[in-house]
């Protein structure tokens, strides 16, 4: 079990516990879907859903929405 800090979704910061530590698991825990968010690591790199997160790491969520 690992714990990651998630910033950004609904303007909130929260800690999420994960079993496998994958981004895909995190997306499920957030009740989000892969097509509507981008997940950014602490170094600003974009994560695909297979990426494994480290215990204690932070990620930022950017919601994908139409501008205009």
């Amino acid at each position: 079990m690992i714990s990651v800090k998630v910033n950004g979704l609904n303007q909130k910061t929260r800690k999420v516990s994960l079993k496998t530590g994958s981004v895909n698991e995190l997306i499920g825990k957030l009740n989000a879907n892969d097509d509507s968010i981008l997940i950014v690591g602490e170094d600003g790199k974009i994560f695909t859903k297979d990426r494994k997160l480290r215990d204690g790491s932070s990620v930022s969520i950017i919601e994908v929405f139409s501008g205009g």
Binding site: N33, D34, D35, S36, L38, K45, I46, T48, K49, D50, I62, V64, F65, S66, G67, G68
Partner: protein, 304 residues
Amino acid sequence: MRCEICEGIAVISTRNGTLCETHFKKKFESVVMETIKKYKLIRRGEIIAVANSGGKDSLSLLYVLSKNFGNKNKIISITIDEGIAGYRNKTMETMKKYCDSWKVEYCVYSYKDFVGATMDSITKIREGIPCAACGVLRRHMLNFAAMETGADKIATAHNMDDEAENVLMNLFQNDLEKMVRLGPVSGVVESDGFVPRIKPLMFLSEKETMLFSILNGITALHTPCPYAGFGFRGVMSRKIKEIESEMAGSKRNLIDVMMALRDTCVKNSTYKTISNCKLCKMPSSNDICEACLIKIQINGIKSN
């Protein structure tokens, strides 16, 4: 995931490929260029007015068009200022900055000048979903602005998600005529006074467009319109993204169905002919266009 071209770390995996940052940026531009070429969206020498809201989509489009067509076409940026406090004024600062750096002429037209009211005040005096009136006024003003600036085409930054939403909305509203007007070029309506609208981003998803803007340092205001999410479009937008997550490629499939229907309808000419609005003389399928009806309604309410 690894980039399918160079084995570097991938930043995205979509129908357009599993790609690293470098190859994703190249792929994005190549999809835009292929769309333009395949559907003959831009011809050498044409004046292209980019409908620029200052969001990630329109700034990405303006960036790609100014980079790839700036030396053979005149690219101008047209912004419709709806008058939404705390939103449009912020995005206009961003737009001006990018237009200056990409050497693109920047024009602004406002609802206040056309209707005599801002969108904020329209929502207070007019019942109904704000986006309905706003969409009508914006399309009308874009056409007017394009005519006034001498543009040959209006390039809008509608992406695959927008187009799939439009297909589903028209389907649920049983409006085949509107549906077959969709596509990379607003092709079934041909009329003097109607500047054709082109959609070079139509085969790129909203996620790809957002990622492209971020990776290119295009710091668009990543804030949705305060009125967005109301009504049917908001529902469709959320549902389509859910479906795409479950079944990759479904957005593109929806668009392909629409394109096939469109081809059949154009061949059979089952769509209505267009005349002109009796008040503003702009193209309209009715005696008085929807924009003028809204203008009359708003001014009527204001005077009472």
